[in-house]
């Protein structure tokens, strides 16, 4: 186990635990306004201070983690659910029309500036967590399709696949029974990376007011609230910012660590 894996795993677990714990317990009610206590810097009672309404930032961060994780997780799910089958199909029909159409379609989605389209989708169909998920999820599809196809292509030339074909299995069955288990590592690593990108994208959308709507707390909107007050209450901007950075950093380290741990070939090549 490498240091990256440990640190990444620990940070990711911390965020998960905070999000899970927030269903049962937070130090304060995250939505309770308490104007006399507003804009407190971190102290013994309010561990991370309070915002301009006197809400406890630590509680808001805990509940906000839930939003970030939910949005990013479902967006990754969309990417895997649609992208992996498409990638498997393209690889099974390498060079055929299905492959060509799927890969060209991929290139096309890549060509769209994702943030602009996400903003377009959420602005036109209404701001909210669900539309944010769809907007982020669409751009995960080509990523997973490409990784799947890239991983599957070399496998199709291998003897064990040939054996499966000889024994009479069809392309779909081979893809599911033999290809998929062999590229699972790749997909897990890619999923952690897309997960962290999803958290960044969710924060950006919420920041411009197109993500989760009040009263659902989200890290991006906490930053938007903090912007006008940044000169008198910098902690309001620092706290959610650091939460985002630690989460994304943790997931990226976890992805790197997993890739090294799951792929023995890389371990040799890296020394």
């Amino acid at each position: 186990m490498s240091r990256a894996l440990w640190l990444g795993g620990a940070l990711s677990a911390l965020v998960l635990v905070a999000a899970g714990l927030s269903f049962l317990w937070t130090p304060f009610d995250h939505a309770a306004m308490n104007i006399p206590d507003k804009l407190q810097t971190p102290n013994g009672t309010h561990w991370l201070g309070t915002d301009h309404f006197g809400r406890d930032l630590f509680s808001m961060i805990m509940v906000g983690a839930r939003t970030s994780i939910a949005v990013a997780l479902v967006a990754v799910g969309i990417g895997i659910g649609l992208g992996v089958p498409l990638g498997l199909w393209a690889a099974a029909r390498q060079g055929g029309w299905a492959d060509e159409i799927i890969m060209r379609g991929n290139d096309l989605i890549f060509a769209f500036p994702s943030l602009v389209i996400a903003i377009l989708i959420t602005a036109i169909f209404g701001a909210g967590a669900v539309n944010a998920i769809i907007a982020i999820g669409i751009f995960n599809i080509p990523v997973f399709a490409r990784v799947t196809r890239g991983g599957a292509l070399p496998l199709w030339a291998r003897e064990f696949i040939l054996a499966a074909r000889v024994s009479g299995k069809g392309a779909a069955r081979i893809s599911v029974e033999h290809i998929l288990p062999n590229i699972a590592n790749l997909l897990i690593v890619q999923a952690t990376i897309q997960f962290s990108l999803g958290i960044l994208a969710e924060a950006a959308l919420s920041y411009v007011g197109l993500g989760a709507q009040p009263p659902t707390p989200s890290w991006g909107r906490m930053l938007a609230d903090a912007q006008t007050l940044v000169s008198i209450a910098p902690h309001m901007a620092l706290v959610p910012g650091i939460a985002i950075i630690l989460t994304v950093l943790g997931l990226n380290l976890l992805g790197d660590g997993l890739r090294d741990a799951l792929d023995p070939k890389l371990r040799v090549a890296r020394t």
Partner: protein
Amino acid sequence: MLRYALKRLTSLLISLAIASLVIFAVIEVAPGDPASFMLGVNAQEDTLAALRAELGLDQSKVQRYLAWVGGMVQGDFGTSYQYRTPVSDMIAQRLWVSLPLALYSLALSTLIAFPAGIYAASRRGKAGDVGVMGATQIGIAIPNFWFAMMLVLVFAINLRWFSAGGFAGWDKGVFAALKSLTLPAIALALPQAAILARVMRSSLLDIMGEDFMRTARAKGLTRAQALRRHGLRNALIPVLTILGLQFSFLLAGGIIIEQVFYLPGLGRLIFQSISARDLIVVESVTMLLVFAVIVVNFAVDLAYAAVDPRLRGRT
């Protein structure tokens, strides 16, 4: 080479055609009638009909699509519903902010990333490498709009070196204009530099394992000399791809940073037009950004094929 270029050009045109269809379709299903949005809730039915006719909204979808695409080919992006001015003028004006900003941050990102990546590669596994790579991990994790806020806090509010937002305008002189773009450019550049430095490093490390590098070392060049004379040029191919992608990202990705700094660029234009339901502007700006991305990627591909004949066979 010509055949390769023609093949790529065909797929470029197909991509553009499909992209325009998709954008048109998305805007088309958008709820809300621009005409009633412009005239307000109390508008008379005949006034609305007259305005729709004037805007061309009463024509069929096919006619409107063809008119839109046909116009764009001739440089006519339509007329803004909101301001009644040609969209191409609005875009041209905003490009003078967004394009310099993208180029500025691309230059900054390259200036930071190249030395950092080369340094890390040359010290592979040592403290310097670990330090640079750790820094890039953090750089990738930082949301650029948050970083922008921190820059404003430190350099605009506390140190008062820069203004916290707004654009001076090119008529105030190049220096003043660039100064007002400096903080946004840094905010955009740093996370990009982190990615670029990692690509630079891993690309260099790949090259270092090649036979020709071993030959270069064997004939007596030091590691640094071998890298400079033989390694760098070969390592640049993946780096160029990322640079091409980053340029289009920076052009479009300035959208949030422009919000933070109140810069009158393309990003703000999109935001303002979306909230005013000025859909023709949204449609055309989005198409322009997609066009830029596709063309930049096309140019990068052609540049490779020109440099490296082996790549012409692949598509």
